[in-house]
């Protein structure tokens, strides 16, 4: 009797400890995120006090950070514009066009791009891609210079916003393609067959069944890719010729830097209130990516009602 009772108590204890520690681990995630925001905030605070002194590196925190916010969003959006159609194309190629036997191998191949460290992308960007693209920039500038994006004195080195956007696009491509591919592969067979049975060609079947089904997946992949591009640091730091300027021109030497790259370049050489300011820009970046992520989650959660039929 006493033994049975003891066993029962012991069992309860094990369950209790285990469930509590699992809950604690989950809570720790929340605490960590709060801590990230908190520590960044208290370190950034001095920069936003009126007596902050930035040693002539910045006059006003908001004026200082504005070009970087612009550069971060601008570069990432261009990267997204380049990467999205490619990612959809790659995903379609692997899910619906390539020979099934090779499809998986091709998928691995694209996934390999995701395995390459960003610093390697940076080296490749400045040493291979920038010189490769530069003649095209000259051509674009000469022939399409009337478009504001291509105006201005074209860079002699190719270290421009467009090169950065291309590098970022390549970097976010694998994660986007993988996500979209998964969604495309989940297209209900029934819908694909319904389209085919109506006499649709492969493309018509994709248009009728695959793309509408995959649309939320595409959007959330875009958001994820955008989040990645916003936070990408080393590739931008190595490739871009940075300035503190807000400019839409894509081909000049004068490019708005991104928040992340600016931190990486300036932080090891910073001190005092200026470093606080850099931490503050990091906090801003954190919030920007958080908002993007929340939006992505909102889109994904809407998908549930979207495909209510199944």
């Amino acid at each position: 009797m006493a033994g049975a009772k003891a066993t029962k108590a012991k069992v309860r204890l094990g369950d209790l400890v285990f469930s509590k520690s699992a809950t604690a681990a989950g809570t720790l995630i929340l605490i960590t995120l709060a801590a990230v925001a908190f520590f960044l905030f208290i370190q950034a605070l001095p920069a936003f006090l009126p007596e902050a002194d930035f040693h002539s590196k910045a006059d006003n925190p908001l004026e200082y950070v504005a070009p970087f916010i612009f550069g971060t969003i601008y570069g990432s959006l261009i990267a997204l514009v380049i990467a999205t159609p490619l990612a959809i194309g790659i995903a379609l190629f692997i899910s619906h066009f390539a020979n099934r036997r090779f499809a998986q191998t091709l998928g691995y191949l694209v996934d390999l791009l995701a395995a390459i460290p960003s610093v390697v992308y940076g080296l490749w960007g400045i040493l291979v891609l920038a010189p490769f693209l530069n003649p095209t920039y000259v051509w674009l500038n000469e022939n399409l210079g009337w478009i504001p994006l291509f105006e201005g004195q074209v860079s002699a080195t190719g270290r421009t916003m467009l090169t950065v956007a291309v590098v970022l696009a390549i970097m976010i491509l694998p994660i986007m393609a993988a996500l979209i591919r998964e969604v495309f592969l989940q297209t209900p067979r029934l819908h694909e067959e319904a389209a085919l049975a109506l006499g649709a060609t492969r493309w018509e079947m994709i248009r009728m069944a695959v793309l509408p089904f995959g649309r939320p997946g595409i959007i959330s992949a875009m958001m994820l890719g955008l989040g990645r591009a916003l936070g990408e640091t080393m590739a931008v730091a190595l490739v871009l010729s940075p300035s503190s300027i807000i400019s839409f021109a894509l081909l000049t030497s004068t490019n708005p830097n991104t928040i992340a790259a600016n931190i990486a370049l300036q932080f090891p050489e910073s001190g005092g209130d200026y470093r606080s300011l850099l931490v503050g820009t990091g906090l801003i970046l954190f919030f920007i990516t958080m908002v993007i992520n929340m939006f992505a989650r909102y889109i994904i959660s809407r998908r549930a009602e979207f495909s209510g039929a199944n």
Partner: protein, 374 residues
Amino acid sequence: MSKLAKLTALAGASAIVLAGCAANEVDADPTATSSSSTGETTTAALSGTLDGSGASSMAAGQEAWVAAFQDANPGVTVNYNPTGSGTGRDQFEEGLTFFTGSDSSFKDEELATPHPNCSPADGAVFEFPVWISPIAVFFNLDGIDSLNMSPATIAGIFTNQITSWNDAAIAADNPGVTLPDLAITPVFRSDESGTTANFTDWLAKAAPSAWVKDGANVGSIEEWPFLGEGAQGTSGVVAAAAAGNGTIGYADASRVGDFGTVAVGVGNQFVPFSPEAAAKIVDVSSVKPGRPDTTVAYDLARDTAEAGVYPVVLVSYLQGCMDYADDAMAELVKAYAGFIISEEGQNVAAAAAGNAPISQATREIAQAILDQVQ
């Protein structure tokens, strides 16, 4: 499950093999120049880690000093982080480092600022030149190895006033050279740097009417004030210049390699850079007056017309506390700084970086200051 365990064990084993000691650390490389004496300062067995930071222009010299010093003192690790001078001084001010290599001397307000690693924190600091190096103005133009340019021309180029290589101002100083009709891309340091400070100091003094922005002389400035092709650090400037055609930049002369270089106008002649021509500027300059006698800083005569002087130079200083809160650190700094200003130390650096050694007289002054460090 056992397969998994084996796999883990294998991974662990290979990690242990990898984690073996670095071949160059425990047994000092016998072929290295460890046999030679490193001066009187390395008598006792020193140990510890000495962190310093500062000018990237003298990174090559610091690397050579660190290497030779660590060979002689295997227990010591010196980390010199080439962050740029301004940051180096900031980090010293914050107590993150124990010495600074700086392209510019302490500003007056910095001398008065407390330094947490000193004792007392607002106590005296030392500062003396350890490194003199020409800053080369270099360019990337096919088929042209050297050009003559007056300070005003260089200022015009770097203020984006002269935009083409076949501009009359350049052509006038280079009779017989076929200049291409090509846009000039000036490349500058996007980070704060002493190289920029010295280069702009020279422009402000030698070409006061051309080195202007919004109608006023820009003066000496650590962060580049104009728009254009910016690049991080000396390596970034060199890489950016190499990547484009028609680029022009400025960097420590030791790093310009195969680029074409500019002979700058001094008085009525054009002087190409050389360590000797650079060292001469100290002879025609005077020490800044009215500063503590533990500091030796020069007022460089950038606008000199003296024959054979290359005025675009960088004189870098070593900076630290006269009295360290941590005695072990004092000992490390004394030993390391003593090695730097020793004849051997200066030669080690000159051999590695091609700069100009400081003179015997300067070395003696520096050693006298260093002897008081505690």
